[in-house]
């Protein structure tokens, strides 16, 4: 059970029993439960699995990984952390 995809938080609604958000997935809008990512803010990306955000996507880490790929082309050393 691993299918989870990243989506961008467009708005947050904390008025109901569960903290919900409107998430954009490449053009599709869906309502997602943000109960487990209380620190998440509008504009951030979250990883969504079966209607729940299970984590906030760390964009700095994402950039780091991609930068490392770029460097790999030059030095031939991999990421190791």
């Amino acid at each position: 059970m691993c299918l989870a995809i990243p989506g961008k938080i467009l708005s947050i609604d904390a008025s109901g029993p569960l903290r919900m958000g409107e998430i954009d997935f490449g053009g599709i809008r869906k309502e997602v439960c943000l109960e487990w990512v209380p620190e998440a803010e509008t504009g951030q990306y979250v990883i969504v699995h079966v209607g729940f955000a299970i984590g906030v996507l760390d964009e700095a880490e994402a950039r780091k990984t991609l930068d490392l790929f770029r460097e790999m082309g030059d030095s031939g050393m991999p990421a190791s952390e």
């Binding site: 487990w36 790999m72 990421a79």
Partner: protein, 364 residues
């Protein structure tokens, strides 16, 4: 799509592959234990791109595949009741039980519905008070919190006509079971990324220590998997034993505290039978006593269940990574997605189905 497309780039994949090719000097056997990763590997044809010295082995990463036969039979029995609306993730509907499957129950008039989220099932219960809604709660730690949330909400809001048939499984005990088997040849593990988004990867350190095996927490896109393999190869070649995090953009060492807290409030650990593998102690989750009113297993007495597995199916060996699907005598002949003998050929995340679909019936 952002944060997906970049990890499907041919150029980046080539770089990872180059890195692996340059580094590898000896044969290595690496196991992944996530249906999503199995799927990506076979769907993108990654194995053929890797140097032949790197062997990938698929573990029991498909919760649909490992749901005990007895539980499937129980689900079928409950779904067949006229007062029940049986809800489930789509994948479960075609898993063969001893004599039938949920899809047949539906064809025969049972109210079996596919839902995308357990909250959808809860909504159905709210809108259909005269009937009982049962949700088939299957999955690894990734899905357990979501199912827990549905149960907790049902309890809080007094939605009495909602219950779950709980068959959750935990990954680390399965890893132990696989590595305890004397016949295993696994030298490194790719840990399931989204499971670790929820749980974190703290519990993999003692595993790495005990079995002297490197772990790399890995994502699901082809580039993620290639990078995860590259990191594993580096550890192996250098003789290092560590737990590394390739999927750092989505996984933190401590995991998701709120999700874990919810899980511990709703579930407790139990022994669980894994289909094809057998009993693995402390490898499952069941509802805590406070939530027994929402436990479908207790609510519905479906009588004695005597499961009967196909004798030709070698799912157990495939799930433990001892055999590849193509090595099964029934693969592609007696056993196909059209007439499956076991679960791995039916679930789209199962290794047998992935091989059949993306590599053909003659694949090895």
């Amino acid at each position: 799509m952002k944060y997906i497309d970049e990890y499907r780039s041919r150029e980046t994949a080539e770089k990872c592959l180059d890195d692996i090719r340059r580094r590898v000097t000896r044969p290595w056997v690496i196991m992944e234990i996530c249906g999503g990763q199995t799927h990506t590997i076979v769907r993108y044809g990654l194995e053929d791109l890797l140097p032949s010295m790197v062997s990938l082995v698929h573990g029991p990463g498909c919760p649909v595949c490992v749901t005990p036969l007895e539980m499937i039979d129980r689900a079928i029995a409950i779904a067949s009741r006229r007062d029940v609306i049986f809800t489930s993730f789509g994948d479960m509907l075609r898993v063969p039980g001893s004599a039938s499957d949920l899809l047949s129950v539906r064809a025969a008039g049972g109210d079996v519905r596919i839902v995308y989220s357990p909250l959808d099932a809860l909504k159905i219960a709210e809108e259909n008070r005269a009937r009982h809604v049962v949700f088939f709660a299957v999955g690894f730690e990734t899905t357990a919190p979501a199912n827990a949330a549905a149960v907790r909400e049902a309890a809080l809001r007094g939605i009495k006509n909602f219950s779950v048939l709980c068959s959750h499984v935990l990954v680390p005990p399965a890893i132990s079971a696989i590595l305890d088997a004397p016949s295993n040849a696994i030298q490194a593990f790719l840990a399931a990324g989204h499971v670790c988004t929820v749980t974190g990867f703290e519990e993999y350190f003692p595993l790495a220590d005990r079995y002297r095996i490197p772990f790399v927490v890995t994502g699901f896109e082809p580039v993620d998997i290639l990078q995860g393999i590259a990191m594993a190869v580096h550890q192996l070649e250098e003789g290092r034993i560590d737990v590394e995090n390739q999927y750092a953009r989505a996984v933190r060492r401590e995991g998701n505290a709120a999700a874990k807290k919810l899980m511990s409030e709703v579930y407790e650990v139990t022994d669980r039978h894994w289909r094809g593998i057998g009993l693995i102690p402390h490898s499952g989750l069941k509802l805590r006593p406070e939530y027994h009113a929402h436990d479908a297993e207790r609510i519905f007495d479906v009588g004695a269940i005597t499961p009967a597995e196909s004798s030709a199916c070698i799912a157990g060996e495939v799930l433990r990574g001892l055999k590849k699907p193509g090595q099964c005598p029934a693969f592609g002949t007696a056993c196909t997605p059209e007439h499956p003998l076991g679960a791995p050929m039916v679930s789209s995340e199962g290794a047998c189905a992935a091989y059949f679909h993306y590599r053909g019936s003659a694949s090895g």
